[in-house]
Symmetry: C2
Subunit: 423 residues, 2 copies
């Protein structure tokens, strides 16, 4: 296929006319599709709910340690749940703290602690001159939101198929005001890249100038394969141990997309030192998170194999949705030279990069025709995509039929926006 | 009865000998009773669990607004739950935010917000010269813990049957560095005092020098009557509206002692301004708290009457326990002039004041004989009871039989400690 850049003026005019007509036709259908967030679909929730109801049939709430999980206590969580997450994350049980219904809240509170009290024996970040974070871009808007809330300055580092640009990262951490970075190391949000073993090792090997440098290792999609040939992510703590840098990493994950968003359980994994510092704060913040929900989850899915088995069912629901989007992108945009994307092995998103820098306009065209995307720009700090390229596609919630329409609309909008940018 | 202070030397010697013998006898029984925290008893949890299981039998998780509570969204909570707490707290539904499993966490996060970002358009507390809180004493150790964690200096104001010493409070709030106070206005922890209507009005009428002065109105025992003739607490927001001071108060409560400690739901009530500021933070901190648990609770107990009905069942379990303690105090210590206490209408505690200032020693004697009390001193900021008087008794968890033994031991220990202090 000819690249759009090589179209003659007449060809471009015909291309615009054709796509304008398609756009108007789709718009006339009065669509109302929301692809703004990575929300599981009702079918997935029904599935989890069936398992959940079975877990409710348990007649008592005693942990295997004999603890009555209906009462106060167990700040770091129920033993069964701790063991499950230790197995999942490949760390020792003592290095796990169970959280509430949201790993985001665990991250927020950790950053808040660094901000108000400092970490690793250093001054609170709020009392340090200049506090910066590396923002791997495009990335997760809610990570950037936390940094922005605390006034942490973000420095963009681009991601590619192997993970963040490590040359840039290694250079940046020489600056003692660079205090950390947010990573979604497996099926990165939004691109679906999984950090290569080399990237994981280079991250673990780093000796940042700041002793209070912390990587927020948000393993949100740890078992969220969509395709059979899913990606392998190296265990960050194995490498960190090798290089004596365990304190640099705090790992987070949850069952938000295994059981229920907002009604699942979350956990963090950290070094002995970080666990100690986090517990010191938690002992003031809360008496314990919801242990009944922790126990229920551990009874629903008592092993990592059980978790993986249910994720296979999720994958079967997600696969045709990802296919619908990816097929449409290929069919409509393949070879045109105006957009690029990656076929992710899992996760919750497909990321479309509009090479002509007209993502915002494409997003606006979609919106006017009834399709809500994640706010274009939101995948960058301060909602500012400097090249106006990135569009995050969240295929999980709509039906396949809706997705086909939505993806077609998106492609037509991207074509129109690209043509305008080129003319 | 003769006051211990009036005993002759011989009488005192006989008194000590008698009680030393009783103490040794009890110690020989090898008790192991924990009265350190206000934990509901297994019987109460079984009761709640029966209702809980019924709520699980609901077949869907749709809120009456049509929202699927199993998915993301609803930052401020499920409509049914918001309405329930609005009714309970006597405020409008728009002034309610539902929280997670712990009102303590809501308070911590609110103080943390004031600390890092400020409130009411003022500079963050962390950037202000001197930040003080009024500590109503004796009080709840976890409140003091939050203030201490953030380095907020606490100034003690004593409580009596009508609430905090309002002359002192009104004087203190003239100081712009006094930023707030913690109140447990009904069945105060530990004394069980309920603020009088006059106290509530005087608090509402105050115009503190600090525009960012905030009262943490922890209505933890709002429906936690133990005796039929429970106390009435005036609605703080009714008075605050009258005086235009709604922004000065943020109210908190939970079902921790209605359903399950750590697996219930919590809520806050606040003015439009405060709600707006809190939501601005929450939108960064979390996507939503556990809405399935909120909906479940609203289905278990859909009205305040339903909540009050279950609290009557709790009261029936609690009453003989409170009686056991209060009867023993009267029998053993009444008229001796060495200790005083209040018979609370509800709540979770009985507070014993050892007038001879030997609470710590009495607590130690108890501990050595197998009875763990709340750390003596913990009811004061910095764990420092300047007069060494206060002992918090938490009768909820042990059985009546255990309580009788525990209360007897406590009384004997107080007598021995008092006698030593006097001789």
């Amino acid at each position: 296929m000819k690249r759009l850049q090589e179209f003659t003026k007449d060809e471009l005019q015909a291309f615009v006319a054709e796509n304008k007509k398609r756009y108007d036709d789709i718009k006339a259908q009065g669509l109302s599709i929301d692809m703004s967030r990575g929300k599981p679909s009702p079918v997935q929730l029904d599935m989890a709910f069936e398992d959940f109801k079975k877990a409710f049939e348990i007649t008592d709430y005693q942990s295997k340690t004999g603890f009555d999980c209906r009462n106060y206590g167990l700040l770091d969580g129920v033993q069964e749940a701790k063991e499950l997450f230790a197995e999942l994350l490949g760390v020792e049980t003592k290095n796990i703290i169970m959280g509430g219904n949201a790993s985001l809240e665990l991250m927020f509170s950790f950053i808040s602690q660094c901000w108000s009290h400092g970490i690793g024996g250093c001054k609170p970040w709020s009392q340090q001159e200049d506090v910066k974070f590396i923002a791997v871009v495009p990335g997760y808007d809610r990570h950037f939101g936390i940094a922005e809330y605390f006034g942490i300055k973000m420095v963009n580092v681009p991601i590619s198929e192997t993970g963040p640009d490590m040359d840039k990262v290694e250079e940046l951490v020489k600056d003692p005001s660079v205090k950390g970075m947010f990573c979604v190391p497996k099926y990165s949000n939004p691109d679906g890249f999984t950090y290569s073993e080399e990237t994981v090792e280079r991250l673990a090997k780093m000796k940042p100038a700041a002793p209070d440098f912390r990587v927020i290792w948000d393993n949100a999609y740890i078992i969220h394969e969509v395709y059979e040939e899913g990606d392998e992510l190296a265990n960050i703590f194995d490498y960190a141990k090798k290089y004596g840098t365990e304190d640099n990493f705090v790992e987070f994950c949850s069952t938000s997309k295994v059981t229920f968003p907002g009604a699942g359980i979350s956990a963090l994994a950290a070094s002995d030192n970080n666990i100690k510092e986090i517990l010191k704060r938690l002992t003031i913040q809360i008496i314990s998170y919801d242990k009944m929900n922790q126990l229920r989850h551990a009874k629903m899915y008592p092993t990592v194999d059980a978790l993986k088995a249910v994720m296979k069912k999720h994958a079967a629901i997600m696969r045709p949705k990802f296919d619908a989007v990816l097929d449409m992108l290929e069919k409509e945009l393949g070879g045109l030279g105006i957009a690029s994307w990656h076929k992710p092995g899992g996760g919750y998103f497909v990321s479309l990069n509009v090479d002509t820098g007209s993502a915002k306009y494409a997003g606006q065209l979609c919106k006017e025709a009834g399709l809500t995307l994640t706010g274009v720009g939101a995948t960058f700090p301060y909602k500012n995509d400097p090249e106006d390229k990135n569009i995050r596609i969240a295929p999980s919630y709509p039906s396949v039929e809706e997705l086909e329409k939505a993806a077609e609309l998106l492609c037509v909008a991207v074509k129109l926006a690209a043509a305008e940018a080129l003319s």
